[in-house]
């Protein structure tokens, strides 16, 4: 009885080692890719020319008086939903999801490349975000984007005053 258990543990250990080695090998490339994507999203969301420092890596960026930008994540249905949020006093709040693993066809309405839903919320008030009930029946996904706004929105809206 003990041998099958040891064998399973051995297989699990080998798989764990392979995953750890791959993650260590790819981590810096993945971080760099995600950072570049967040920068590209910021420029796209703002619609105006932003001079980013070559090595901009922080989770927030003060662009006042024009706006203030943060990156963050919320727990989704199948892993974290990473997002970027821009506050512009002139246009309000703009949210884009930069990385997610939500179920295709159900939870991926938050992806601006697959659905127009999130762009239709551009400039929506915090009250409208807070009142968001459910989209496509994806409760966890909807809660994640609502929490992103209700947690970060009030802090952001204090900036650039």
């Amino acid at each position: 009885m003990i041998r099958p258990v040891l064998n399973i543990c051995l297989i699990g250990a080998v798989c764990g080692l392979v995953l750890s080695a791959t993650q260590a090998m790819t981590r810096s490339h993945i971080d760099e890719n995600r950072l570049r994507q967040a920068q590209a999203l910021l420029i796209d969301m703002a619609g105006w020319d932003i001079q980013l420092d070559g090595e901009w890596r922080s989770a927030s960026l003060n662009l006042c008086p024009d706006g203030y930008f943060v990156r963050g994540s919320q727990p989704g249905y199948t892993g974290p939903i990473e997002f970027v949020l821009l506050w512009e006093p002139a246009r309000g709040l703009t949210l884009r999801v930069s990385n997610h693993r939500e179920t295709p066809g159900i939870g991926d309405f938050i992806d601006h490349n697959r659905s127009d839903w999130i762009t239709s919320m551009d400039g929506a008030s915090l009250d409208r975000w807070a009142a968001l009930d459910n989209v496509t029946g994806a409760t966890v996904t909807t809660n994640a984007v609502r929490s992103a706004l209700t947690e970060h929105g009030p802090v952001l809206m204090e900036q650039c005053r």
Partner: protein, 217 residues
């Protein structure tokens, strides 16, 4: 495994067209040749890697827990593939990542592990995996080509996502626009697949009938 077995795995027992396995990623991702190629490469890496490891460890895998063990190995290779894509082909990752991650539940891969790799030596398991992967790739790329031509009138669009900037000029324009935009969407995938499967079944039947006639003579 002989050449006939390999041919059988690719054509007569094609995992997608003949056994109808792995249809979810097949239908979801095959809206262009480049997307299809990306998923075919990812599936090939997973099926060959998992078949090899499962065959090599077949003496250690307890019979009572063989399915969880197979899924663990397949999940490992799927995660490795996802990480490699995210690190080295980020633009393609953004397009097909959701479907690469569900390779882990692809019954084509679990089926080959259970039916073949867990009972055969490594060399035969690798050949079987290669045959299965080639068969799946043919189905995927064939469907991708038909849908891309029908849907948007091009072939190899966005090849740079897979092959680098030098491949940006590989796009072949076949007319101004696709004649059937529906082909790019999920209902179009079902319809195109249905038509291709009907054609293949009819071809198979006529070949079978011809062989029968020749035998009688």
């Amino acid at each position: 495994m002989t050449a006939a077995d390999f041919k059988n795995a690719v054509l007569a027992n094609n995992p997608a067209w003949a056994q109808l396995l792995g249809l979810c990623p097949l239908l979801a991702v095959s809206n262009s040749v480049v997307n299809a190629l990306g998923l075919a490469a990812a599936s090939t890496l997973v099926v060959i890697g998992s078949n090899t490891v499962i065959s090599a460890l077949r003496g250690f895998i307890p019979d009572q827990a063989r399915l969880p063990s197979f899924v663990l190995v397949i999940a490992t290779f799927t995660t490795v593939t996802t990480l490699l894509l995210e690190a080295f082909a980020f633009d393609l990752y953004l397009k097909i990542a959701l479907y690469v991650q569900i390779i882990v539940t692809n019954c084509m891969i679990l089926g080959r592990a259970e039916a073949f790799a867990s009972r055969q030596p490594v060399s035969r398991a690798i050949l079987d995996a290669a045959g299965t992967a080639v068969g799946f790739a043919i189905a995927l790329i064939g469907l991708g080509a038909v849908r891309e031509v029908l849907g948007q009138g091009t072939l190899f669009e966005n090849a740079h996502l897979l092959f680098g900037e030098s491949a940006a000029s590989w796009t072949i324009d076949i007319g101004d626009a696709g004649t059937l935009p529906l082909a790019l969407y999920p209902p179009g995938a079902f319809l195109t697949t249905g038509v291709i499967m009907a054609l293949m079944t009819s071809l198979k039947r006529s070949t079978h009938d011809r062989q029968k006639m020749n035998t009688r003579r």
